[in-house]
Subunit: 193 residues, 4 copies
DNA sequence: GATGAATGAGGGTTCATTCAT
DNA sequence: TATGAATGAACCCTCATTCAT
């Protein structure tokens, strides 16, 4: 029985599983290869080196993560609704993919500075999304026109990120998605007039 | 000329310098020993293992960090003032100690999950401080009596932490302390009625 | 536009170029295949394995090398003249083919003992040529009738080979062919009565 | 039972044995360490890397090789005698140390260009010795005053080296030392007037 | 208490060769 | 014939920790 998934995706998915199960520093290339069902050398036909797997992983996953959120907020009419959908989606997506949550929130942050800088580049897409919502809210008059966009964005991302991290560190013992409304309420109050 | 500092502190200070200058993954025990002016083996008379150095480092530094902040907020009369002092102190202390900022915000976060769990234990002292301010504000009627304490605390810590991290990742190119008022204003609006 | 050269020669020529340009240890089969304009697998339709390429290369090139020299000395009347032509030809041929010179003098000598033994087999054709000149000189009375043929041959080959190697190691900065007369003179004195 | 040899020498001697017995490309650091009776890591307390072992090996062995020969020729009165002693010593030393002979004549020549250049540096000490004998002979009138020193030296070294290599490639089946007189005679005739 | 030489486990990556198409 | 994607064995070096002095 052959897998029809192209090997590139196959390897990235394997990496997520292996990192989630073994931790960043115990995610050897050979383990990833075995999980992907390919030979060690095959990895290097699709990725320049181990770091390249991790960056690609983050890009792929975060790319579709952002895309999903963006789709969700597109139809919404008010900035408040958009923000709510963003928080809800963020929590939802990570709730539904335990491995991804562990990998992006905990494991990949153990990487070295160079890799983290590249990861930060990817995160810029998320920051941009937040900025768009903020600008929109300021235009519609929902948000304080004198907001410091940068600080507001850092508050929003910092809050959501901290909550998710805590949730994972607590072994996902509470219902993350259920927190969305109260998180949203706090954030809305902060940026409103 | 021999240092009179007890070797325990000597080694921790050396660790901060070495990690700040070389990064977490390039901070070998032998480098720390050399920086501390002791033999490699001497380290193990004062610390169980390398991880123990890092935890002790975090405990020592975070302990005095929290103490300083606690002192600052003690005299203040309103919860809002306390929160302002907390944010200002937080930014101030890290602004004045570049090495500490780099080590606690960036480098130590590259440690494995186990170590990070222990670091989180130390952070509980900080969380408690935030909780106290929140409770105080709820009692005085400054803050919303229906606040979800945990989420509010995560918002406050997440926001402050994210801003500091961004500041360091940007090579401290902007004035961190100057941001305190607008950060404070956002947070106050979030938790007020 | 396809090359009409049979692929066998095509691959050997590619190997010479790749080895000369990249060195023995950086001359991967895939590089040779790319240089030859064939697929990696095609190599194995014409050669048993990588070693077989190198031996074949040496045989082909050394074969025509010896042939050229043999032609040059055939018409000469005295052993001294023959020896002069041999040295001159040797220097000439390598001077005119930089790649070949590098490959046979430097790169192929990095091969393992087994391959070098096979290379030595090919060199026997050259040794035979020298032996013929020596015998001829001994018969004509030009050379010492009590010569130890084997030692004399090793002197002649060792001398010429050492000079060529030095010339290449010095990046061909001096005129190799111009050395032929003085080399010849030394050798003639050695073997003469 | 502890070895009292300093580990540096211990490791070099082990390297000679391992390379002689297994060949250059099969001489793994772990094998050398095991043969030396030390841990793999210990190697790196005395040598920068694997290449450093090989260069040091060559320097140490070639250094004492040249020293021995130099001592032998010092007392001799004529250039011819000096040359004889040199050839004899060269053959003698290698005859008496099979491993060294294999390592320096065959195995180390498989190293990459960079290492070979460093090996060549060491050989310059030998070349210098030959040059001294040649100059001496030219001064005493034993040798042709118009000798091309460089070519003569290359002849002498090339001849001796080729003979030793052949001897080893033939598994030392003939008596190398016994060849010294006839080799000497040839070389003397070559450089005499 | 203090030293520092010695230990030894562990992993990313290359590349000659194969074989299904 | 020709292809080229896939294979998987093999090795140098680092560094936290120990222990004889």
């Amino acid at each position: 029985m052959k897998s029809n998934k192209p090997k590139y995706k196959q390897i990235i998915d394997a990496a997520v599983i292996v990192i989630a199960e073994n931790g960043y520093h115990q995610a050897q290339v050979s383990k990833i290869a075995k999980q992907a069902g390919v030979a060690d050398g095959t990895i290097y036909l699709y990725f320049k080196n181990k770091e390249d797997i991790l960056i690609s992983l983050f890009q792929e996953k975060m790319g579709s993560f952002i895309e999903k959120i963006r789709k969700g907020i597109t139809g919404k009419e008010t900035a408040a609704e958009k923000l709510l959908v963003m928080v809800e989606s963020h929590f939802n997506i990570l709730s539904e993919d335990h491995n991804m949550a562990v990998v992006t929130q905990l494991e990949l942050r153990q990487s070295n500075k160079e890799l983290r800088l590249k990861i930060n580049d990817v995160l810029k897409g998320y920051f941009q999304l937040v900025d768009e919502i903020l600008h929109f809210g300021m235009e519609t008059g929902e948000f304080d026109p004198n907001l410091d966009i940068r600080v507001s964005r850092q508050m929003i991302f910092g809050t959501v990120d901290e909550i998710v991290t805590t949730w994972i560190m607590n072994e996902e013992k509470f219902d993350l998605v259920a927190l969305a409304p109260s998180v949203h309420q706090l954030l809305i109050k902060a940026v409103s007039i």
